[in-house]
Symmetry: C3
Subunit: 277 residues, 3 copies
């Protein structure tokens, strides 16, 4: 997740075909035709944390990245060009109101093809679906907070497990009944993952064994997390999705999953809390 400071994410490269540095009014116009329900999971993932995000129409696909205002959680989502019925773009980066874009797409039937086209003159994104044309104003991408580069942060992850999203939903819901934080840990000897929340009078604990997980890579890990970010991230995950949780010792939690039948990927991170308040 590079800290984008320019309007292109490939600013140090030249466009192979045009021989020019691609920018907003480059030679290749941005024009994407994609089913509404193919695009929605990418937007939902980012919209869970922010209202405004950077959207990159790269040569190989769309990328959305954001960090929440409190800089506790970040998300990076990609959708391959192959997921679209037709795809033309060269790396233009724009700032969009992601909630608004979700609302517009919700007016299209799930299997409706939606066309997204950038109008460089008016700096607007045209969303066209079945008789409806919506021209959405864009932001300067530099005015939108981008996520930090995850690799630069040097997280040391020691354990991971893959579970169905409804299992994640169960433990965040249960934890929310007693507290606003949640301790996630992996016991390498017992080969179990434990989500635990302590309230004033009530405690709750959710255990996943290696056998119950889709995949389990044990290791010594344990972090305390603010629940609200996890709740938001979990809500954006499509039903039936397998989710990979990555943990460390007082390290951020990673939440990764595929979208759009494998033609896209979401990776979210939640920074640990030092202690419960």
């Amino acid at each position: 997740m590079p800290e984008a400071s320019a309007v292109t994410d490939e600013g140090d490269e030249t466009d192979a075909e045009s021989g020019q540095t691609p920018d907003f009014d480059g030679e290749v116009p941005v024009s994407v035709r994609v089913r509404a329900d193919t695009l929605k999971p990418l937007l939902s993932a980012v919209g869970a944390l922010v209202d405004e995000c950077r959207l990159t129409f790269g040569r190989d696909g769309i990328r959305a990245a954001a960090m929440d205002p409190a800089t506790v959680a970040a998300v990076d989502a990609e959708l391959d060009a192959a997921a679209a019925a037709s795809y033309e773009a060269d790396g233009t980066v724009v700032g969009v109101d992601v909630t608004r874009l979700e609302d517009i797409l919700s007016m299209a039937a799930g299997d409706d093809p939606v066309t997204l086209a950038l109008d460089p003159e008016s700096f607007r994104l045209h969303v066209v679906a079945d008789g409806l044309e919506y021209a959405m104003g864009l932001f300067d991408p530099d005015s939108v907070r981008g996520p930090p580069d995850v690799d630069d942060l040097g997280f040391e992850h020691t354990a991971s497990l893959t579970v169905p999203v409804d299992m994640v939903g169960r433990f965040v819901t249960a934890a929310g009944m007693v507290a606003d934080h949640l301790a996630l840990s992996v016991d390498p000897d017992a080969e179990t993952f434990v989500a635990a929340a302590d309230g004033d009078t009530d405690d709750v604990q959710f255990t996943v064994t290696a056998e119950e997980a889709v995949a389990f890579s044990p290791g010594d890990a344990g972090s305390l997390l603010s629940l609200s970010y996890l709740i938001d991230i979990e809500r954006a995950i499509p039903a039936g999705t397998d989710v990979r949780l990555t943990l460390g010792r007082k390290a951020p939690l990673g939440v990764a999953y595929d979208i759009s039948g494998g033609d896209g990927r979401v990776e979210a991170f939640v920074a640990p809390r030092l202690k419960a308040v």
Copy 2:
């Protein structure tokens, strides 16, 4: 839509059978037996604009008419006597709390026959359905604002089209995302209907071609309308209904549709705005 000033809508006629001027305690008692779901669309159409309306139990059917408090929109709805399992009335006009009457009918199953009977002594409408008898207080119809006579207003309509109600729903929803008003126009050369709304940063436009419409009678037409009235009117239209939109040059919009399988009709009007604020 005559401005009713008396308690009968046929006050200048005499009752053929009784030889008397029909009034609230006339010779023919009002007694109507009708399915709850047959009566509901008439009430919904009027309830979309007002809480209280005039209800006329005419010899040939029930008529409800109302104008909204700001006198921007009016509605006139009729249900033929043939839609009822049994029907007896002679032109009595009463003022009813239409929201309350909708609530009462919502307690009856859709295919339940409901009996409406006027009690002239207590000035109440008795609604009887499956063990339940509800006696609803009535208003003096003169105390309820009636709609103006549409013919007197001399609207000059120049174009019309018929579209499924869900198409109307799409463009009022889309317009509501960016503005509180909506421009409707017909391009006679292109043979298209366009609904357009301009917001501060975003614009939305919905186009219906002659081919996409159920029926299309082109002509030069264009009006600016307050969105809230259109939203209320559209919500009251039963799913699957074809709606006829009538337009002029800065003239009111007409919204007309059949109810109860053709045994009733609704006609609504929304006055144009001079300009967007």
Copy 3:
């Protein structure tokens, strides 16, 4: 419904097996395994009136009893040990947050077996379901208002009828449209039950004949009741349940029904009002 002043409901008996007075840390640990949807109707019935109640884990089953804060309505609910997949208890009485316990059970699928186990050391109830363990803090049962003994109150009931719960729902909903109270009466000559509510302008009346009732035992009866308690009690009754209403002359209304396929029983009472305000 005895006014429980001790932590056991069988405090005057000795435990046959252990030879000791059973108490919270008795020889027989409380451990119940039961489907979530088997336990829910008992909790719903009590939760309709109170947030906190006394829960008795008796030798033959679970009993929950409560009186609302205004001491107008009381409820007593039982679930036989036979309704549970496994059952071990000796009469321990605890105070529970019934709303919280309902929330916890709502996280289990209806046909999930849930295990309830008392931890006498931490004075908490452990609820275990499919990976999730919730430790719920308990109250001193003496701190929770128990219901009065119904037999001591000497109600003289003169009439009763059994009707489907949706019939009760219809008349409480209809009455709620016009008033906050409701008169229930039985006419022994006409063999009818009448629920009537008088509002400022509107009246509503619901009549059940002996033929329409599942069972009818006529007698002179009539009471005025606050509607809100009836609404709360009715909402907690599972769909499709037959409800037995017991009436007297200015006597409390009894509302009794079976839960969990006959393996449990609920009995609620609502004290009459002297007059409508």
